[in-house]
């Protein structure tokens, strides 16, 4: 059971951690000042959430590790973040759509996790949910603004919606370890979240005039350490300094 808790804490922590890195790549590169502030502020919340989950993972671990070690020193296959957050900041429409898909997921998941039988899971969820709601209000509003904006903004956000849809299947896959936790009432059944997720996403699509992608979701496997090609490049950059100067301190 301890190992199952550890796996899930790592999954949540890594998802926030990898996304925070993507968002912080936009620092001083945002499309305009207000969005630069927004992306880095959302990124900061995700760094905080990642720290909470990874600190708890350290408590659950049999090895003597700290959160910095987990964040910076693992190999690619040891990361358990969902694949969606690895997608690069190709275009602002992709940045917003990636955020929106995950915000809806986090909103639903954290809402359920506040009832977790594990007191630390529930406490982290209670804290994170407030922040996630604020993020979701921001990203859902942008989905409408882009979808219902100009011809070009509509086309670009529709492309993002279609391309990133592929990675959303990965959000709802439950490996054995998570099935064990669901049986104990520690996490919700992720497969059950999928219908709620789609309903909420489609509500926004409708308001935004965005079409639901016509193909099935495909990508999965992040629970097993399978990642997109993008993660390796990101880790190279992210881990460069901690690997070169192993005792570096701020």
């Amino acid at each position: 059971m301890k190992k199952d808790l550890y796996n899930f804490a790592i999954r949540m922590g890594d998802t926030s951690w990898i996304l925070s890195h993507r968002l912080c790549e936009l620092c001083s590169f945002g499309p305009f000042l207000e969005e630069d502030l927004a992306m880095t502020n959302v990124g900061l919340d995700h760094i905080g959430q990642a720290e909470e989950w990874l600190n708890y993972a350290c408590e659950l671990s049999d090895e003597d590790v700290d959160a910095d070690f987990l964040a910076y020193r693992r190999k690619e296959k040891e990361y358990r973040n969902v694949q969606l957050v690895e997608y690069p900041n190709d275009d602002f429409a992709y940045v917003i759509t990636r955020q929106f898909y995950l915000d809806v997921y986090n909103y639903l998941l954290y809402t359920k996790l506040t009832q977790s039988k594990d007191a630390t899971f529930a406490a982290i969820a209670q804290k994170s949910l407030k922040e996630v709601k604020y993020h979701l209000r921001h990203s859902s509003n942008w989905m409408v603004r882009l979808g219902d904006g100009t011809e070009e903004s509509h086309e670009r956000v529709q492309n993002a919606v279609d391309d990133l849809w592929f990675y959303t299947g990965d959000l709802f896959v439950m490996p054995e370890s998570e099935q064990n936790l669901a049986k104990e009432g520690i996490i919700p059944n992720l497969a059950d979240l999928e219908a709620d997720w789609e309903k909420m996403v489609l509500e926004v699509f409708e308001k935004a005039g965005i079409n639901k992608p016509s193909y099935e979701v495909l990508a999965s496997g992040s629970f097993d350490g399978q990642h997109t090609e993008y993660l390796g490049f990101m880790l190279c950059e992210m881990q460069y300094l901690p690997n070169k100067y192993q005792d570096a301190k701020w």
Binding site: L33, E34, L37, A38, N41, V42, L44, D45, H46, I47, G48, Q49, E51, E52, Y107, A119, A122, A123, I124, Q126, K127, S128, K130, E131, K133, Y134, L136, R137, H138, S140, N141, V144, M200, E203, V204, K207
Partner: protein, 162 residues
Amino acid sequence: MKETRIWEILAEIPDPEIPVLTILDLGIVRKVAFEGEAPIITITPTYSGCPAMQRFESDIKEAMTKNGYEGTEVPMVYDPAWTTDWITEEGRRKLKEYGIAPPEESSADKKALFYEDDIVNVTCPRCNSKNTKLESQFGSTACKALYKCNDCLEPFEYFKCL
């Protein structure tokens, strides 16, 4: 009560980012206790990633050492989660005087989708007009948003409701 003295010391510690507020005005100190002679001061984070949290911890320890207390511990709890409802009346008054509009409503039951649907009319801290406009949902720190007053035309910061 020896805890009373600790609360007095804490009342003197400013927030590192909004120095007009003390950490007690902000409502982040959840509990004061002792283990032997060592003070145990439990705090809760405002935002998960708030960079001020480490400063809070070191500032509290420093203030305790200065006042002759040794072995101070500053554990962090997440439950119950901090809310802007815990900012004291005194804290809200100081924020407004400083030019930051205090949170207008209770944090309960905020909608998750489409922030424009439930935006409140934030009061301008300079001219008290309610005719104000959200400029940016995010601001210079995790806890603030940017507004503009349509009457006195001054931009100002709003302490977000959480």
